[in-house]
Amino acid sequence: MENKKNFNVTFYLLIIPVLLWLVILIVLPHIDLLISSFQVDSDAGGKIFSFEHYMAFFKNKIYWLTFVNTAAYAIGVTILAFIVTFPIAFYLTKVISKKYASFLVLLLLIPLWVGELVTVYGWMIILGDHGVVNQFLIYIGLIDKPLPLLYTNFSMTIGLLYMSMLFMVVPIMSTLESLDDSLIEAASDLGASKWTIFRKIIIPYSMPGITSGAIIVFMLVIGDYVAPDILGGKSSLWFTEQIYNEFLATFNWGEGAAFGFLLLFISSSIIWLTLKLSGQKLERVGS
């Protein structure tokens, strides 16, 4: 009997901090976000319920165009990140010897921990008019005037790809590590071509890793601010920048809340759809 009571005390000691964390910092803030997206100041000085902020979004072409553009871009960068990093994940787990692999994996993780601000700044230096790329091309005589690389969609894409692709490599590598080489050997012995092996064995096997990598990359890109703001041009339409402006420049919090909620809605829907289509659970994401 006494033992049972102890169990209860321990249970409450464990659950109370977790409840405080989740209720105060996750659940309530999102409810408040939703509430304030439906609130406008009334003439009497109070708050009244209104669809005004959402109407503003749908009425102004620039807003929803940016919204669609950002979502499409995020999907594009996710696919690009997969194409660029899958061969590397395979190379590090299956092709080169383990001795070099652990060193290269470490090299892979350094930009991740250095942080986005620093690496985006690095790309700004490389792609600028007096940057490494342009100065090199001028030096070898290929061009006379610097190419407009920085402040374009090109530089923005590089920045987004660079900061997010490592979140794709790591989960793919962890699934590939458990892929038994003998499966590939057997297929090869039976006369399968490389392409067939890739399509029929390697891709299906690493699908859980690809899915969780894709979800993280998509979420990071659609919610990113630094790369579009620093590397993107004036014409780069980026929805997160609108949210930042509402909160930090024009102080229109209600509209910002509505935009934030729309961003949360689109990113959650796409992530949910990805999980459903691949039959994967949220638990696996990011592991």
């Binding site: 964390w21 309530l28 061969p87 590397i88 470490l106 700044y121 690095g122 590939i184 990113s267």
Partner: protein, 284 residues
């Protein structure tokens, strides 16, 4: 295709060439930053004008090096302080959450676990604005109804700590939870049958087993906090953290001192990574 199978030279060298290109792409920004930290020029640009340590040590009217730049030193100090509190808080709560979800059975466990995982897929900007709105609402309510002016409910140091903690705890929970899955339950049962209470068995048996994961999670939470921008920017008061400070300088006034501080971060992370590689190798 793989180590044990023969490959045509064309395939092998093309693959190797791609990998080399990828790693050049990977290290290029870090190298560009590091090299230009030592360029004797007032602008963050080529051409190379000779080697200098000015951007670390100078303190003249024209040039302020990193160690003379009080603003930068101050923001690094704030970042370290923030990261320390965030890491401590999220390590404690994240570990508790891992114990709760791995070892206890209760109603709504699935729902609660789902909620604990959501920060993985919520963009940082959304966490930032919702915590800002929520704390402002709470602050306004307490002010209007009770006349209390609670400082940490408006953008400030502690609000940043809470904001970063809200998602850092999830990462800790995942890291500690992964180790807890490998835990041999019979050890706890043995402790219980020896008349230890449930709490005692957690403190004296489970936690020591989890220690490596807890230390690792603390480091991860520290680094997550140290480099966070997206959530922090909305919750910051008058004292910027390093990423926020770097952002405004990159936007409005970049000088090679930014390269100097970035170079120091790169060196610090690289050395830390090498140490961890070395330690892991020794363990095996």
């Amino acid at each position: 295709m793989i180590r044990s199978l023969p490959n045509s030279p064309v395939y092998k060298y093309t693959y190797r060439f791609y990998a080399i290109c990828f790693f050049i792409f990977l290290v290029m920004p870090l190298i560009a930053i590091s090299v230009l930290a030592f360029n004797n020029s007032d602008f963050v640009a080529l051409p190379w004008r000779g080697f200098t340590l000015d951007w670390f040590f100078a303190n003249t009217d024209q040039r302020t090096g990193f160690f003379a730049d009080d603003g930068l030193i101050q923001s690094i100090f704030i970042s370290i302080k923030t990261a320390f509190y965030v890491a401590t808080l999220s390590t404690i709560v994240g570990t508790i959450a891992a114990l709760l979800f791995e070892e206890e059975k209760f109603r709504f466990k699935g729902l609660l676990y789902f909620l604990a995982l959501t920060p993985l897929v919520i963009p940082g900007v959304i966490l930032g604005i919702s915590i800002l709105i929520s704390s402002t609402m709470a602050g306004g309510y307490l002010q209007d109804h009770f006349g209390w002016d609670i400082e940490f409910l408006s953008p400030s140091f502690w609000l940043v700590v809470l904001g970063q903690f809200s998602f850092a705890a999830t990462y800790v929970m995942r890291l500690v939870g992964a180790r807890l899955k490998k835990f041999d339950r019979t050890l706890e049962e043995a402790a219980l049958s020896l008349k230890a209470t449930r709490l005692q068995s957690i403190i004296y048996v489970t936690i020591p087993f989890l220690r490596p994961a807890i230390i690792g999670a603390f480091v991860v939470a520290f680094l997550i906090s140290f480099s966070n921008f997206n959530t922090t920017i909305f919750l910051i008061g008058s004292d910027p953290t390093l990423p926020v400070d770097l952002y405004s300088r990159i936007k409005f006034s970049s000088t090679p001192v930014l390269n100097a501080v970035s170079f120091l971060i790169v060196v610090f992370i690289t050395v830390a990574a090498l140490i961890s590689l070395f330690l892991n190798r020794n363990k095996k």
